[in-house]
């Protein structure tokens, strides 16, 4: 998949294959395709910090709790 600077094309690609676009953006190997695996990969490669993961998980928990 070719990454593009055209916003409309980027949006179309994102709608068509969101995991593919994000994997390309964050250099995630294709064999990692679960949310847990992706987070672990981002942590291991230092692309996100532990506090950012904690924050995201807490936000997810609160959103699901409200629902």
């Amino acid at each position: 998949m070719m990454m593009t600077n055209n916003p409309y094309e980027l949006l179309r690609q994102m709608q068509a294959d969101p995991i593919g676009v994000l994997s390309k953006r964050f250099n995630i190997p294709q064999d990692i395709n679960t949310p847990h695996g992706i987070i672990q990969h981002l942590l291991n490669t230092g692309q996100v910090s532990q506090s950012e993961v904690n924050q995201a998980m807490e936000m997810k928990r609160l959103i699901y709790k409200q629902k």
């Binding site: 847990h36 942590l43 506090s51 924050q55 998980m57 928990r61």
Partner: protein, 159 residues
């Protein structure tokens, strides 16, 4: 024209004395805005216990290499810590702690124990002295009997 900077104290020198409450507000305002700014800049979830619904969630929680995260179980009185090694070769270390609520503080407990002490199990000094006298008398009696017994044995041997 050159206006002096301190024109207000000259024109209204009585202002701060007459209205101390305004002076108080004018001093407080910068502190409040500074506090608000600090609160906004502080990370919300850093160094806090991560709330999780069960132990399995804590075990599967993503933790980076060389990092440690503490969890609080929402449905049970447990705390968990998950510590990852610095490399993939080291297995993650998972620990489970049970929360035990203490009833009251320790010094109060000791004080109440002292109050509730049963004094009937203790004897007075005069009673101890009397018992000591009786024990000494018995000891002397036993010594006398032993002596008599020895004399009898010696007499039997002579015969």
């Amino acid at each position: 024209m050159n206006y002096p900077n301190s024109i207000y104290p000259q024109v209204y020198p009585q202002f701060p004395q007459q209205f101390p409450q305004f002076q108080q507000y004018s001093n407080q305002q910068p502190q409040q805005s500074q506090q608000t700014q600090q609160t906004q800049n502080a990370p919300l979830f850093q160094n806090a216990l991560v709330s999780i619904p069960n132990e399995a969630e804590a075990r599967n929680y993503p933790v980076g290499y060389g990092q440690s995260v503490s969890f609080r179980d929402e449905n049970a009185p447990y705390l968990y810590t998950k510590t990852m090694g610095v490399s993939q070769l080291e297995p993650p270390k998972f620990e489970k702690y049970r929360i035990v609520k203490e009833e009251g503080s320790a010094p109060q407990e000791e004080a109440s124990k002292e109050k509730a002490m049963d004094l009937s199990i203790y004897a007075e000094k005069s009673e101890i002295e009397a018992l000591r006298g009786d024990f000494k008398a018995l000891k002397e009696e036993v010594a006398k009997l032993k002596k008599k017994k020895r004399e009898v044995i010696v007499d039997d041997d002579d015969e």
